[in-house]
């Protein structure tokens, strides 16, 4: 919406005020996320820019907090950094173990959510589907119901069934939380799906299985992958259910961060935050590329 030539002076003033306002809001959105990156390289244990950092003095910056992520919880952090040191890191470092747990839980819950969610989305987007509205509402509800309620309910249920303190319990809970995202993204892909393609395949003699894997699957794959990424992020960022149903030694990255923020916040948290920001940039890029690919496949102009 470029400024039209017939604009009055007042409109011109408003036009630039409006742009400035929007720029300020964009700054409000993005600044809190980017600010942690430089601060995580602080040489001092402070959360603000030191004099040295502001004057770009190299001694004001360090990677000590990233180093702490590796050494914290290790048996012999001061030993020579050889193979034994690295295996000590892999075995004992608290953040590394948390990352391992997060990845394991995230991977399996994503797999479960994506498989079940995609299957259900295929059923839900068929016109013959009975009770569509109610079932859809139930399947989306884990996203809407406050997490504290879900966690409380799971705590009661898991204590009664012996699923508390198990990986299976956490994975199932995280899969449930990720399912709405898979359903939403996959159904959105299926909305523009041309059903005559399936009929064409069938008329050429393909059985339903072949049709699904050769025709449907490649077309909805971008939506499935986006949904899977959403489900993974949901699990990777989830702390409340873990706090309620996981065993004490089942640490995950968010749980470790949660403890860190509650007890005493150290710049090590900022270095984890920086890593997570980079991960989310990578994920966002992937999803964006997938979305464009999906639009191209379905013949919607990307603009």
């Amino acid at each position: 919406m470029a400024l039209p030539t017939y604009a009055t002076p007042l409109e011109r003033v408003w036009y630039y005020t409006y742009r400035t306002l929007c720029a300020a809001i964009f700054l409000f959105l993005i600044a809190p996320i980017l600010i942690v990156i430089p601060l995580s390289f602080n040489a001092e244990p402070y959360f603000t820019f030191t004099e040295k950092m502001l004057s770009f003095d190299p001694t004001g910056y360090s990677t000590r907090w990233y180093d702490l992520l590796l050494t914290f919880g290790m048996g012999k952090p001061d030993a020579v950094r050889d193979a034994a040191w690295w295996s000590d890191v892999w075995q004992n470092a608290a953040w590394v173990n948390a990352a391992k747990n997060s990845v394991i839980i995230g991977f399996f819950s994503t797999l479960l959510a994506t498989f079940l969610g995609t299957l259900a989305a295929l059923g839900l987007s068929r016109p013959e589907m009975p009770f569509r509205r109610v079932i859809m509402a139930i399947l989306i509800s884990p996203m809407i119901v406050p997490i504290i309620i879900t966690a409380t309910g799971l705590f009661f249920f898991y204590s009664a069934t012996g699923l508390a303190n198990t990986y299976l319990g956490i994975i199932m809970a995280h899969a449930t939380l990720g399912i709405p995202f898979v359903i939403i993204t996959v159904t959105a892909t299926l909305v523009g799906f041309d059903k005559t393609l399936n009929q064409a395949a069938a008329s050429l003699g393909a059985n339903p299985t072949t049709t699904f894997f050769k025709i449907t699957m490649p077309l909805i794959l971008p939506g499935v992958i986006s949904g899977a990424l959403f489900a993974f992020v949901t699990s990777f960022d989830e702390v409340v259910v873990v706090l309620f149903v996981a065993a004490h030694d089942q640490q995950t990255i968010p749980r470790q961060m949660w403890n860190g923020i509650r007890e005493q916040i150290s710049p090590a948290i900022l270095s984890v935050a920086t890593i997570l920001v980079i991960v989310s940039i990578a994920l966002l890029t992937t999803v964006e590329l997938l979305r464009r690919r999906s639009e191209r496949l379905r013949g919607i102009s990307p603009g």
Partner: protein, 430 residues
């Protein structure tokens, strides 16, 4: 032959079945097939979501603290306070506890000490009458050596045993199914006569917190609207090339970990943090009077507005994008000022987006837990934080369940409204 020519022939399929029934059969089969695809997930969600929620609801009206004790080693349930419960059943609600009642109580205490269940009993009564847990454990320790008359003997141990409020609480607790936890969750209690009354001013916290949650959520929704509307409008009116680029500013926060965003706000807003530093260096405030912007209501509001802003911008954007700019141009050409054209022509077309974004943000804000817990201090806590407190610290699980159920009803009502007005099919992510 002539018959077939005159009578209308029934249409059949190739294998000779009537067409109508064949069609119905095929449709039913298609229905079943679609349903079978959804069934595994539906069962999964029933197990991992609906049953737990059901247990939560059960817990809010069902408490066996004063009724039975689950012996984990033997795996059996032992009934507790049997004699006393019988006495409660036989007497009217306002009966004075007599010697028989005290004898039953002492028998119950002795039994509870033997089965190591006295802690559970004391805790259950402690929910209603604070300070009674220690009284139960203390008295149970001495109960075995007490001799009749039990009334005097027990009052000797602790004179609070004569408190009618305590007896009222025990009478209430002797029923397994009770709505008392909902009463507590609404700052109500039963007095000694069994009437429902408000609790003392200083103990009334829950209604206040429910109100605070609603007011703060409404405020946050309004703030996200205030900030989200101009941004969504800009994104919707720019050419796609530019708006896709600017969209990153909205989507990156959306994809970034909630804990990271909350941490960032702690870093930015704390008294030795970046924002205060900037203001001090600009000379807006002096170094001594740094603003307290975190660990209070302000911190919760700022952080939650930031975190929920994408949920407002995205629905607004998806409604604004398809709005045809020629309507506004037509209004302008007919003599409307740009403000009138915006107010009368553009704004009404964005209402579905405002509704969708507003409801979504409000629903999410009402149940927020993590951010208030980390940046809320004592004044920025919401109802979710109190549920967590009762789950983890006070261990009054039934009260936590009652509070959670009330919150759940509120959220489900809003969810139903959302589905009615906007439809969950229209929920979009990115």
């Amino acid at each position: 032959m002539s018959d077939a020519a005159t009578a209308p022939e029934l249409l059949t399929t190739a294998d000779g079945r009537p067409l109508k029934s064949a069609l119905a059969h095929a449709q039913a089969r298609n229905k079943r097939r679609a349903f079978y695809l959804v069934l595994p997930l539906l069962l999964f969600v029933v197990i991992t979501f609906l049953i737990p929620i059901g247990q939560l609801l059960t817990k809010s009206v069902y408490n066996t603290g004063f009724y039975s004790w689950k012996d984990r080693d033997a795996g059996v349930s032992i009934p507790l306070m049997v004699e006393l419960r019988e006495w409660f059943d036989e007497t009217p609600a306002d009966a004075e506890p007599d010697e028989a009642a005290f004898a039953a109580l002492v028998a119950g205490l002795v039994h509870a000490r033997e089965t190591k269940s006295i802690g559970q009993i004391g805790t259950r009564i402690n929910y209603e009458v604070s300070g009674s847990r220690s009284m139960f454990t203390k008295s149970a320790r001495k109960a075995k050596d007490l001799v009749p008359p039990y009334k005097e003997a027990l009052l000797e141990v602790d004179e609070d045993w004569g408190d009618p409020e305590l007896w009222g609480a025990m009478r209430n607790a002797s029923k397994v199914v009770t709505l008392d936890f909902y009463l507590s969750a609404l700052d109500r209690t039963r007095n000694a006569d069994g009437d429902i009354v408000k609790v003392d001013e200083e103990r009334a916290v829950y209604v206040l917190l429910f109100k605070r949650t609603l007011v703060m959520s409404a405020l946050i929704t309004f703030l996200t609207f205030l900030l989200g509307f101009p941004v969504a409008h800009l994104l919707a009116t720019l050419p796609l090339r530019h708006s896709n680029l600017l969209m990153i500013f909205v989507l990156l926060p959306f994809w970034t970990s909630l804990l990271v965003r909350t941490t960032s706000w702690i870093v930015l807003l704390q008294s030795q943090g970046v924002v205060n530093d900037i203001w001090v260096s600009l000379g807006l405030i002096s170094d001594e009077s740094r603003l307290q912007m975190i660990y209070n209501q302000t911190g919760t509001i700022i952080a939650m507005t930031h975190i929920l802003l994408p949920f407002m911008v995205l629905p607004l954007y998806s409604v604004m994008r398809p709005i045809d700019p020629s309507y506004v141009r037509a209004a302008r050409s007919l003599g409307a000022t740009s403000w009138t054209a915006f107010r009368r022509i553009y704004m009404p077309q964005t209402i579905p987006g405002i509704g969708a974004g507003g409801l979504l943000v409000f629903i999410l804000a009402v149940g927020y837990y993590i951010t208030p817990a980390l940046v809320g201090g004592s004044t920025g806590q919401l109802i979710s934080n109190l549920i967590a407190f009762h789950m983890q610290n006070s261990l009054n699980w039934s009260l936590a369940a009652a509070l959670a159920s009330l919150l759940l009803f509120a959220v489900l009502l809003l969810y139903w409204l959302y589905d009615r007005l906007i439809g969950i099919d229209n929920l979009k992510l990115g």
